[in-house]
């Protein structure tokens, strides 16, 4: 509980610090003189062609979701890694290793299946 309070307090402190720096810059810096050209989004120098929110391919998000899934599967290795030395001390090291081997086999088999089903290809 106290750790949560500490983290929240530090977050608030950092936010106030950053906002303070920004407002300080706003007070001390010269006032911006706005004009049409200056306000337009930065492009290559010609009059702006395209709006800032371009369409992003859905495949990008699909690939990102696959990466997130792998990330979560990696997190499952952590409790195993923590207790691995305990397993060795009890003489069950081979059992723990083979259990993780089965898990990793499924993990890598999933990756191969993804490649085979062309989920990672970008046309």
């Amino acid at each position: 509980m106290s750790v949560v309070v500490s983290v929240l307090v530090l977050t608030a402190f950092v936010l106030v610090f950053g906002a303070g720096l920004l407002t300080l810059a706003g007070f001390l810096g010269p006032k911006p003189k706005y004009s049409n050209v200056k306000e337009s989004p930065y492009e290559c120098g010609l009059p702006g062609q395209e709006s800032g929110s371009t369409v992003i391919s859905v495949r990008f998000y699909l690939t990102a979701i696959l990466f997130i899934l792998f990330d979560i599967e990696i997190i499952f290795m952590y409790p195993w890694a923590i207790s691995f030395t305990d397993f060795i001390a009890k003489g069950q090291g081979l059992y723990a290793l083979s259990a993780m081997g089965v898990f990793l086999f499924i993990f890598i088999y999933g990756l191969i299946w993804e490649i085979k089903s062309k989920a990672l290809e970008w046309e």
Binding site: S6, A25, P41, Y42, G52, A64, Y78
Partner: protein
């Protein structure tokens, strides 16, 4: 936070000092990087302001404060301001749970007519039992700040750069996570404090049945897991979008990525 007023206030001050210390580190590290890359490339680097150019970054910081604060017309102005502030938070929170020294024990003492009990102050902002998992989780929040900054500035270079940066952060977290597994196996704990305690003393290991102790090497985890250390450093460079992995800021294509505006 603490049990009484004294402990709570000390913890507050400690938090603020550790955060400000981290902010102070930034100019020094930038100086090391600029100067170091200059020596590697047979240049001089910043050497005008102060001894060896050490105060160059201080001058830069003052200059940045006196710069004009400007919002592009179509940008979402609140998020445009919020993004740099948000990007501070994960860094500060992750740095906060790294222990910088051994804890300080304060004996019980009398002050203002009260007796203040014995205290133990850890040299970190807060002690978290699952430190490594906390750092991993918090540091992946940085992707939100990048995406916010790219999306809020309403510029296609920024948006593409932010998308690349977030994709890179997501993908290299895999390598980061896998590199840490070896450390977890060796030390059997998530806690930074216990890990650091386990690294005290000279390096000693079992070699062909006898215990070998070297007096000239410390008992650091990098000697047990050199491959993990190399992977971790590479993944860290990629996570922070530093130079070999600077795809999000590819200057030829994206101007400056998510910080164009």
């Amino acid at each position: 936070m603490g049990s009484d007023v004294f402990e709570i206030s000390v913890n507050f001050v400690k938090m603020a000092i550790i955060f400000l210390m981290m902010v102070q580190l930034v100019p020094v590290l930038v100086w090391v990087e600029r100067r170091g890359s200059a020596f590697i490339q047979n240049r001089l680097g910043p050497n005008r302001v102060g001894p060896l150019g050490l105060t160059q970054l201080l001058a830069d910081a003052v200059k940045f404060i006196f710069k004009e604060e400007f919002i592009p017309a179509k940008s979402r102005w609140f998020l445009f301001y919020a993004a740099p502030v948000l990007s501070l938070v994960p860094a500060a929170l992750a740095f906060g749970c790294i222990p910088l020294s051994i804890p300080i024990h304060v004996e019980a003492f009398q002050m203002l007519g009260h007796s203040w009990g014995p205290y133990r102050f850890a040299f970190q902002s807060y002690e978290i039992g699952v430190g490594i998992v906390f750092v991993l989780g918090i540091s992946s929040l940085a992707a939100y700040a990048l995406l916010t900054s790219g999306w809020a500035s309403f510029n296609k270079y920024s948006l593409l750069g932010a998308l690349r940066a977030s994709a890179q952060m997501i993908s290299y977290e895999l390598a980061l996570g896998l590199a840490i597994v070896g450390v977890l196996i060796i030390y059997g704990t998530f806690d930074f404090r216990e890990m650091i305690d386990a690294q005290a003393g000279p390096l000693s290991f079992m070699w062909l049945g006898h215990e070998v102790t070297t007096n000239w090497l410390p008992n650091w985890g990098i000697f047990y897991q050199p491959l993990g250390a190399v992977l971790l450093f590479a993944a860290m460079f990629a996570e922070t979008n530093r130079l070999p992995f600077d795809l999000p800021e590819a200057e030829a294509e994206l101007v400056a990525g998510y910080h164009t505006e």
